[in-house]
Symmetry: C2
Subunit: 114 residues, 2 copies
DNA sequence: ACTTGATACTTTGCGCTTCTACACATCGGC
DNA sequence: GCCGATGTGTAGAAGCGCAAAGTATCAAGT
């Protein structure tokens, strides 16, 4: 029973931005880190990852440069722009508020609303 | 600055199922309750609500009957099927796992992964 | 030498969901 | 008579994640 779970729309962006915020990384490493940190709960297919990165780049939230990766190969390293950093903050805040609200609702007992 | 926030895809279903699980309600009341409990964080537009209800009904997770509402008007009251109840459980569990994972990632400091 | 697996990026097309906007109907209050 | 709240519904548009396939390099196994 693999604990795989699909990501709700809009969630991937925040996660990517957060990982990139920790320092420049290339796409492949982003997926690895997400999977690693979340203990395999978050698994990002490449078909989700790279389009997302391009979206974020087009929105001006990320910038990319080709550099040599740790393994000696060429890879695109992404960095956060100031706009991206600001966006990350508000998105993080949005997630926190939403998660709290959803937990509140899902935590309801039969008692109902009072 | 109203703390409005759009719902990530897939989240609406769980919330609806949860509200219905507390007892038979009609659609309009579901939206009200969600908004009320979440303190306006969750606001469900009618164009999202009713398609979602129909979806859930078609999937066999909900059943609907026309009854008289509290105000004396006809309304569709939705109830959870056994399948719906089971579905709600797994979905709730999925949400918990995901929320925990996302919080874990968003809570990362500059330190990185260790 | 061949093949497998890991690394690393790209693109296309599908399917699903949500949102905006509109339409229709009844009821109570002003 | 009109407007707001109640209550259900549809149509169109837009967005996003995923599967799938393709490209390419490199290390390690057989």
């Amino acid at each position: 029973m693999p604990p795989k779970s699909d990501l709700p729309q809009g969630t991937l962006d925040v996660l990517i931005l957060k990982i990139v915020a920790l320092g420049p990384v290339h796409g492949y490493a982003i997926a690895q880190r997400l999977q690693q940190i979340s203990r395999d709960v978050v698994q990002v297919p490449q078909g989700s990852l790279y389009p997302a990165l391009h979206r974020l780049e087009n929105r001006g939230l990320l910038t990319a440069d080709w550099k040599e990766s740790e393994t000696g190969r060429e890879a695109k390293f992404y960095s956060l722009t100031s706009k991206g950093r600001k966006h990350l903050e508000t998105e993080t805040e949005d997630w926190r508020r939403l998660a709290e609200a959803v937990s509140l609702i899902l935590g309801l007992a039969e008692g109902g609303v009072r």
